[in-house]
């Protein structure tokens, strides 16, 4: 049974620049080193080291924004906001409009963008580009279409992904 943590609904995911912080943080079930190695996890489904408060993409841990992110097994702080490529940006959260809540509005925005009614900004596109989903990790493929819409819709109504 996967644990549900409220912070999973928070808006844009932010990168914790591990090396820059030169910090090693750990919990009984989770550890992060300054070299950017993420290991552990709070459930057996965390094949990619995903925590319930964040998503590990490659060797980098992304956590939701906020002053402090707390889970039963992990605590950290928002320290930076950078994209996986190193530049400023946002990550694949589904919170397209960036209001801090992923809801039906974001699902509608994804649908509208998918059929060409609106054009998303680069940041909006990145936030909304949650599909494909691979082992619970929103990978993204550079486009917004129905794959993103269904994932955002599911999460907006509390089904998660």
């Amino acid at each position: 049974m996967r644990k549900q943590i409220p912070t999973i609904h928070i808006a844009a995911l932010l990168l914790l620049p591990l090396a820059a912080q030169a910090a090693t943080q750990s919990s009984p079930n989770y550890s992060i080193t300054g070299a950017g190695i993420v290991s552990g996890g709070v459930s057996s489904t965390d094949a990619n080291g995903m925590s319930k408060a964040g998503v590990a993409i490659g060797r980098t841990l992304y956590i939701p924004p906020g002053i402090t992110i707390t889970s039963p097994n992990y605590t950290s702080k928002q320290v930076a906001q950078v994209s996986p490529g190193g530049g400023s940006g946002f990550l694949h959260t589904g919170d397209i409009n960036g209001d801090g809540i992923m809801d039906i509005v974001d699902a509608l925005l994804a649908l509208k963008a998918g059929v060409g009614l609106i054009t998303l900004s680069s940041a909006e596109l990145t936030r909304g580009d949650v599909g494909p989903l691979v082992n619970s990790v929103p990978v993204g493929n550079g486009v917004i279409d129905v794959e993103d819409s269904i994932l955002i819709l599911r999460k907006a109504v509390g089904l998660g992904w």
Binding site: T45, L111, K112, G114, L117, V134, V146, E147, L153
Partner: protein, 170 residues
Amino acid sequence: MLLAGTVALSLSACGDGGGTSTDVLAPGTYKLTFSAISTARLPVAISGVDVAVKFPVGLSVSTNSGGSGQIVYASITPGSAIQTTSLVYGNYSASTRTAYLSMATTQTSYRSGQFMNLLFTVASGTSVTKNDIFLLNATYPKYKVVGLDEVTHSTVTMSGTVKTMLGVER
């Protein structure tokens, strides 16, 4: 029967136009139904479909602006096979006479049947057949059928397995 009540044969996914005089649509408003079919059991339920449909001259879709743009809410609805939370949206291009449509649902059991309906109007003085309406599955690169594997928590694209069929109801 999924398409019971349709007054016309289901149209092929990639129709090439044409038709007989008996197929000519009288002026008025019709409902275009979209149904998913597959000859194989799908690995997961269908959660969403992106599709485009091209209309012939004489048929029109209501939009908020009266021309190109968002299709009015009342004209596009989830199909009869969709019972749970769902969203449908449409964008109509008057210049290409093409409607771009998207349906997303949280239903975890939908594998076939009507997933969306679209109202359209046949103008007076036109001679249009049902077969003149066709999907752009073959040429529309964004045609997509997608589901979610609840076990692996991964999306599954089934565009090559699932076909969308059209029907016309009065």
